[in-house]
């Protein structure tokens, strides 16, 4: 396992340096490119470096500063996007060969445009499971993304490149998408902060879809402060104040969410609840069926989306994705409708639970990242595929559309993470709890080395 080093700076700290003229945006961006070129050979998190365009935008930032104009709160900060966000002038592949002949995007995805307007610089596209259908970022076309904390282990997925590039310290923040856990699972396995905002809150214009009923986009970052800032810019609604954490009622999810987890994760959850001073445990009903519903809705909507191409070009798909999409395309309507009816029922149960607590705490995965050569986990005593089952704790929550902040626990060894789950639109409460856990030393992201912040390139 690689020995982690202390993070040097996050996005806001880097922007402050650039805005103050102590570093140039160009030096930061070119340094980040050089760092990725050298170090990402180990992790395979980046699929394309947007070098020329990134340097050109960094030059614009430097000119704005020189001219006394406001370059934005994220001035000159490089970031990466899962390869399903449109970036002007680039082909959005969604991690597949199938879309590679599409024309380049005419404009940025809305959330990318908002970040660019805030001074941030899109620097790279990032690896993912093909069409976001998986939890492992094992991609036949682009290769497997490796966990920076142990390259013999999976990074998780489907936003695995987004998590790994932050965990490696190559980028201070990235964008991912989350349909069944695709921000939360890799955030947990790579030990970074991640946010799945409330379903329907973030604009999805310019984001390649997977499951319209569940898709959400959100940020991943090395500090919770950065996560909050990036989230506010993406949503075009900055969180100006957070509630006092003592006023936030916290409960732990039991039952399904207390089964199958490692001893170390149980102990870490105990420590979190003890620190927050809450001992309430809430058990949601019918979680297995909630997960089944999310699984079925994903298969049906994803399969339907791809059916025209599956009829003509099936063999161009990643074999791991193709069979799942074909099976989903054939799902009977009765099953699909039942899943959507169950979703309505489960929503009522979850809202009843949220009447008792403001934030629900649950594990994100059953344990640490599985080995790449043994991509499986143990569930109910059975060995099952990691690619399909790493989301057993995230999929039921996806069905509800609730906001979830993925917090990396401060543990020795490989990362572990928890979900902080809130009521719709209650992201501020999640950030209040997350900041408390970070300041108490119970949660932290420890990138290997913040290469983007290295001061080896003078202005």
């Amino acid at each position: 396992m690689t020995e982690p080093r202390s993070p040097l700076a996050g996005a806001l700290a880097l922007a402050a340096e650039i805005r103050a003229g102590r570093r140039s945006a160009v030096s930061v961006v070119t340094g980040a490119i050089a760092d990725i070129e050298v170090r990402d050979t180990r992790f395979n998190s980046v699929t394309r470096i947007l070098g020329a365009a990134a340097v050109a935008q960094a030059e614009e930032v430097d000119r704005a500063i020189a001219a006394g104009r406001d370059p934005g709160p994220l001035a000159g900060v490089p970031f990466g996007v899962k390869d399903l966000f449109d970036v002007q002038g680039e082909v959005t592949t969604a991690g597949s060969l199938v879309l590679r002949d599409n024309p380049p995007a005419a404009r940025d995805a809305t959330v990318v445009a908002r970040l660019r307007a805030a001074g941030a610089v899109p620097l790279a596209t990032l690896n993912m499971d093909e069409f976001a259908y998986g939890f492992s970022t094992e991609n036949t076309h682009n290769g497997t993304t490796r966990n920076p904390h142990d390259p013999e282990r999976l990074a998780g997925g489907s936003s695995g490149g987004s998590a790994a590039s932050v965990a490696a310290g190559m980028l201070p923040f990235t964008l991912g998408s989350d349909t069944n856990g695709s921000i939360r699972v890799p955030s947990s396995l790579c030990g970074v902060w991640g946010l799945k905002p409330t379903y329907g809150q973030m604009p999805l214009q310019g984001v390649y879809p997977f499951v319209a009923s569940l898709d959400v986009v959100g940020p991943m970052a090395s500090t919770v402060e950065d996560l909050q800032a990036v989230y506010g810019i993406m949503a075009d609604a900055p969180l100006v104040s957070l509630p006092v954490v003592e006023d936030v009622r916290v409960a732990r999810l039991g039952g399904w969410f207390a089964s199958n987890i490692s001893t170390e994760l149980t102990a870490a959850l105990d420590a979190v609840m003890t620190h927050l001073g809450h001992d309430r445990v809430i058990e949601l009903p019918e979680v297995a069926r909630a997960r089944a519903s999310a699984f079925l809705i994903s298969a049906a909507e994803g399969g339907n989306l791809h059916l025209p191409r599956l009829r003509r070009r099936a063999m161009q798909y990643d074999p791991a994705t193709r069979g799942r999409l074909m099976a989903g395309a054939m799902l009977p309507a009765a099953t699909f409708v039942q899943a959507h009816r169950f979703r309505r029922w489960f929503r009522a149960q979850v809202h009843a639970a949220l009447a008792q607590a403001d934030v629900l705490v649950a594990p994100t995965t059953v344990g640490i990242a599985p080995r790449i050569d043994q991509p499986s986990i143990i569930v109910d005593g059975k060995t099952v595929s990691a690619r399909a089952n790493l989301g057993i704790f995230t999929q039921p929550i996806s069905l509800t559309g609730l906001p979830v902040l993925a917090a990396p626990l401060a543990v020795e060894g490989m990362p572990l993470g928890i979900q902080l789950i809130g009521a719709p639109g209650s992201e501020a409460r999640l950030f209040a709890v997350a900041r408390e856990l970070e300041s108490a030393g119970l949660a932290r992201c420890t990138p290997l080395a913040a290469g983007f912040a290295a001061k080896d390139s003078p202005c």
């Binding site: 409330t198 379903y199 329907g200 009923s213 039952g255 399904w256 089964s259 058990e283 009903p285 019918e286 979680v287 297995a288 069926r289 997960r291 089944a292 519903s293 699984f295 079925l296 298969a299 059916l307 599956l310 009829r311 099936a314 063999m315 074999p319 193709r322 069979g323 799942r324 074909m326 099976a327 989903g328 395309a329 054939m330 799902l331 009977p332 099953t335 409708v337 039942q338 899943a339 959507h340 009816r341 169950f342 979703r343 309505r344 029922w345 929503r347 569930v379 109910d380 059975k382 060995t383 099952v384 595929s385 690619r387 399909a388 089952n389 057993i392 509800t400 559309g401 609730l402 719709p424």
Partner: protein, 78 residues
């Protein structure tokens, strides 16, 4: 929650599909034909495996009685 509810159906994601639930595997070739999908022979084992997996989840879900006034969440608001 009963243990029967907790266990995922037919161990989702397992490479093996065979077993007691084999009789539940839908007629994949017929279903594919109905939607104009031709499944290459090389893909058929994986499609069968995933169809059986989805059928397991469908059975789990179908075993839960919902009230008639529980509408589908097509226009879902969290």
């Amino acid at each position: 929650m009963s243990s029967a509810e907790r266990v995922s159906p037919s161990t989702p994601g397992n490479s093996g599909v065979a077993g007691d639930d084999d009789h539940k595997v839908p007629p994949v070739a017929e279903m594919a034909r109905l939607i104009g999908l031709s499944i290459p022979a090389a893909c058929m084992p994986d499609v069968l495996k995933n169809t059986a997996l989805l059928q397991g989840y469908a059975d789990l879900l179908g075993g839960f009685a919902l009230p008639d006034d529980c509408e589908p969440a097509y226009e879902y608001e969290p």
